[in-house]
Amino acid sequence: MGNDILYGYSGRILRVDLSLCTLTVEEPPLEYYQHYLGGRGFIVVTLLREVAAGVDPLGPSNKLIFALGPLTGAPLPGGGRNSIGAKSPLTGAFGEAEAGGYWGPELKKAGFDAIIVEGISEFPVYLWVHEGEAELRKATQLWGMEVAQAHFAIRKELGDEKVRTAVIGPGGEKKIRFACISNDITHVAGRTGLGAVMGSKKLKAIAVRGSSEIRISNPEVLRNLSRWLAQNFKDKSGVWRYGTGYLMEGYSLAGNLPAHNFLDGSFDQVEKITAQAICEQHRIEMYGCHICPLRCKKRIKIDVPYEVDPIYGGPEYETLAAFGSNCGISDPKAICKAHEICNRHGIDTISAGGTISFAMECYEKGLLTLKDTDGLELGFGNAESMLKLLEQITEKRGLGLLLSEGSRIAARQIGKGAEDFAVHVKGLELAFHDPRLKQGLGLHCSVNPAGPDHASAIHDTVLVKGPQFEDWGTIDVNESIPSTEMSPRKARLLYQYGLWTHLANYLVLCILVPYTKRQIQEAVEAVTGWPMSYWRLMKTAERGITLGKIFNVREGFTDADDVLPKRIFLPQRKGNLGGVDPGKFAEARKMYYQMLGWDEKGIPTTARLAELDIDWAYEYLESMKQ
């Protein structure tokens, strides 16, 4: 393929075999880019084709893929992200996570659209990608370093303060099942344990630096979009003032704020742990990602009683809920410290918080005792114990050793009914939006191949406005449906609108930048020069969802895994919302399967594979049947 006809991409994918110490460059055909677009699309195709069923996620046969999208690095806010995927060590299913910052744009300027990492190195290494070249470098001197230490050590070694890094901390090295990968210290690909995969390969970091121009088919359109955003973002979204978490009091009122391990949907001390409270007391600055005016990330500093290092940023909404309301904790300083510990060691705040709140409930119900906790009083609301237990998880010590496996494995080990308190789907802890209020989100969480990923979910409370709001009618959101409804028409809303929300994973576009659908379509056309329609964009998302499902089916996952935690079928203890109706859930899930072209067991049909032009994937379903 001649690169002179490809806009928005570099046209090159780097393959790194750590066992053989080889680096090769591949140039996929144009059709590959047009068919899968990027991000989750590139990842799922690679995993399905190259990772055999049943491999150990932490063994040499798993592959770790870093992938960009067409908008990555374009002169357009929202294009600062990159996607990472592998078979997840936390779920055993298709795993994927995304992070913002500057690493993705830098990789594209360095001349690559993706990096496929395979094998296992004999000793710790890091990958240095620069100006179209790549090399593996010894990292024994970095092994054991915390995230920020490693980041600065790499910059110093390479003699360039503008190098961008994707780093694992000690959490990834220790293969904690919910370890993450951190871009430039604070932009974190948190979910599904990809840091553990990187650690298993003894790959400490990928450092990138590049200066090549990303060619854009029609730059004027992007300039106009950026200008529009600069003029309008303050009216369109509130994240620029406090970052995420500024609506927590509203969440609590509505029953959307998980508290006490999802027993409750509201928290009576919520005002102490909101983004506003954190900003007013501890913020030193806001910062952001690649050319984005929203600057939605807060940096906080605390001196006493806990020293919280501002180098590790500050907590987003999910973290505020994870270590705050869901652990029954109202001390903002303790939450900020927990956030710092997670970022320092490189572990996911959502899974860490979800696993600790699970342990707290086990303790309150007598399933864990002081003997199990080495004397920690682990009841809800105990901030000191929460922090000590988190440290134990990072050190894989005491009860922390068991909890470092995540809530699913821990619950099985504890037994005595503990599985009823483990709030996860397929082993991935739920993000902090209550499916009893957002029931379409719940349906998404149950079926989504990557597990309960809140970023690609629909949020029913937004969609209640129906077709008259913004441009939702253009993708056939044609009626207002209550957020607490679970029904065939909710399944249709998830199918139609959900394809759009999933699309961000393939474009690798930030969902917090308030573009309209029309503007996103225009942006993709302007970058690539390809004619785009909503149909074409949404079909790309559907293609990826179905391929992810095939990956999971091949791994032995069935419709019995496309469920919600037991707790979600019960009423909230406080918050006044009833549980999801099991019968209505089953009916809606069946409808959703069928809308996706899957059979009643959730297995994609040959007809839908043909319709999506991914007939090639059928062989993987056939091999599963044999």
Binding site: D235, L247, A254, Q276, E316, H433, T461, K465
Partner: protein, 83 residues
């Protein structure tokens, strides 16, 4: 009719510049006695009322027919998105 003072905290922007208004921060407003929540929204936030996700008075969910009282704390939340 007399006047009263209420405290408003809104996560949606007003129709036009309102003195003292900052997104998500409380500001005082003088209203005529007997003003309802609906009338308040019509007066200041009518262009963005479709973006209101939840309304509360003194920390409790309120409907638009609620009559406001002196000293009320009114919260107007935008649609409850993710993140």
């Amino acid at each position: 009719m007399g006047e009263m003072v209420v405290m408003i905290r809104a996560f949606i922007p007003p129709n036009e510049a309102v003195e003292g208004f900052r997104l998500g921060e409380p500001f005082e407003l003088n209203l005529i006695d007997g003003t309802t929540l609906k009338e308040l929204i019509q007066r200041i936030f009518s262009k963005n009322k479709g973006r209101i996700g939840l309304m509360a008075i003194n920390g409790k969910i309120a409907q638009d027919h609620a009559v406001l009282l002196e000293g009320d704390k009114i919260d107007l939340y935008s649609l409850l998105e993710g993140g």
